[in-house]
């Protein structure tokens, strides 16, 4: 049986980790490679590196960082943040990324999903969706970190992404992101049941129980978390051991 995956997410800006827990014995928490290696050694199943650079100068360092990550890390990793063309995806693949994630650019041009998946395979393409509950009660995809509502209904958009060749969907509820009060499990359960491809739940984990709930009640295939690892609330291993004790299949 496929294990439920626990995926720490690292925000990178100008080649440095923006948030990071102060691991014992790790002098430089700012180096995304060292931090990723530590998460991997601690039992992370995959890593996600999100480039949140605001300028071209900062962004230019990202591919060389991806090369260093690929040299060092022996588990799969996804890179994302501002990927808007086949060329950028190709450059990150050449640098050694196992997967790329696309978000706003795919909404602006859904053909981007087909183009990348067609060239490099579905396993390479994660479509990230930031969803928000609209006033009419429907979940809608947003862009710009949840600030802009689009006209794309969440389920229809996810299905289109799957048909265009997405290998996974990374779903974040902008209603729950960053508040550490748990995931909307009913939404995840319905969402996962309608898709053939794996779903990664993101945003909202404040406790191990929250993660356990989204993996069981929410039926998500994986949980991505940033804050609880970065702020050292729990280590990856602590989370996985606790999930295992609850009878959830994880890789230990």
């Amino acid at each position: 049986m496929v294990a439920k995956r626990i995926i720490p997410c690292l925000d990178v800006k100008g080649g440095r980790t923006v948030k990071g827990v102060n691991f014992v014995g790790l002098a430089d928490v700012g180096d995304p490679v060292e931090l990723g290696a530590r998460y991997a050694a601690d039992g992370a199943d995959e890593l996600v590196y999100l480039d949140i650079s605001a300028t071209c100068e900062e962004r230019a360092t990202f591919s060389s960082l991806v090369e260093r990550i690929a040299d060092r890390i022996n588990i799969p990793f996804t890179v994302g943040g501002g990927i808007a063309s086949l060329d950028t995806a190709a450059r990150l693949l050449d640098a050694g990324a196992d997967k790329i994630s696309v978000n706003s650019a795919a909404i602006a041009d859904p053909g981007l999903i087909s183009a990348i998946a067609g060239r490099y395979g579905s396993q390479f393409v994660v479509v990230a969706i930031d969803a928000k509950l609209a006033e009419d009660g429907r979940w809608m995809a947003t862009t710009h970190g949840g600030r802009r509502l689009t006209d794309r209904e969440l389920f229809a958009w996810a299905h289109e992404a799957q048909e265009r060749g997405a290998g996974e969907i990374l779903l974040t509820s902008m209603e729950h992101d960053g508040v550490c009060q748990g995931y909307p499990c009913d939404l995840y359960r319905e969402f996962c049941a309608t898709l053939d491809i794996p779903v990664i739940a993101s945003g909202g984990a404040g406790s191990i129980d929250d993660i356990a709930d989204v993996l069981t009640l929410g039926a998500a295939d994986a949980a991505l978390a940033a804050s609880i690892f970065h702020y050292g609330t729990y280590t990856v291993r602590e989370v996985k051991e606790a999930l295992s004790a609850k009878g959830i299949t994880v890789r230990l």
């Binding site: 995956r5 690929a70 022996n74 050694g96 049941a193 491809i197 794996p198 295939d221």
Partner: protein, 194 residues
């Protein structure tokens, strides 16, 4: 010298990096002479079986691979092309392993592609020296080889399939040892030690 066969099937970087981490010397090549002379041959690959066979034929490598007498390790598509036939594109393959490759059926909630960490069992080869049954390895694929007499490891995703195959000097893994953490590194080291 280890030859990593380049037949234009995806990025070879993760396999190169894994060998570098093990301190192995390798050469990425599509040159039949280099491949024949290599002490070990790695046949990686991500993508489509039909395209993989087409590229191997175009590069004149089908008979070269068949004729190798030193250890060969196919990974993912690299293993599938050494089977008899793949349902993907109704493709006739090299036919070293006595089995066919079929697609997972996305029914009863089974997720396809099979992506993530799954356990390997019934380990029966020097490739898994020091690896315990039930160890986790990393998979990402939509097609998988049936069980057969060449099966040396199994996994389960909506039914058992061949996680690894062996026939004489030919080995194959459906999972990605180069992405399977420390367990994967041990398996690659076992292959290099053959």
């Amino acid at each position: 010298m280890i030859a990593i066969v380049d037949y234009k099937m995806g990025n070879l970087r993760s396999v190169e990096n894994a060998l570098s981490r093990l301190g192995a010397e390798y050469q990425v090549t599509s040159d039949p002479d280099v491949i024949r002379a290599a002490s070990k041959v790695l046949l990686p690959g991500v993508g489509n079986a039909a395209e993989a066979m087409q590229n191997l034929r175009a590069a004149g490598l089908v008979d070269v691979i068949r004729s190798i007498r030193r250890p060969v390790l196919g990974i993912c598509i690299g293993m599938q092309v050494m089977c008899r036939h793949s349902e993907e594109g109704d493709t006739d393959c090299i036919g070293i392993f006595d089995t066919d490759v079929r697609k997972f059926t996305a029914e009863n909630g089974l997720k396809v592609p099979h992506m993530g960490w799954n356990t390997i069992h019934n380990l029966d080869s020097k490739l898994f020296k020091g690896i315990e049954g039930g160890s986790y390895v990393y998979y990402v694929h939509s097609y998988r080889p049936d069980l057969c007499s060449d099966t040396i490891a199994t996994s389960n995703h909506g039914g058992m399939f061949s996680a690894a195959l062996k026939y004489e000097n030919f080995y194959g893994t459906q999972f990605h040892p180069e992405k399977s953490g420390d367990v994967g590194e041990r398996i690659l080291a076992d292959f290099l030690a053959l």
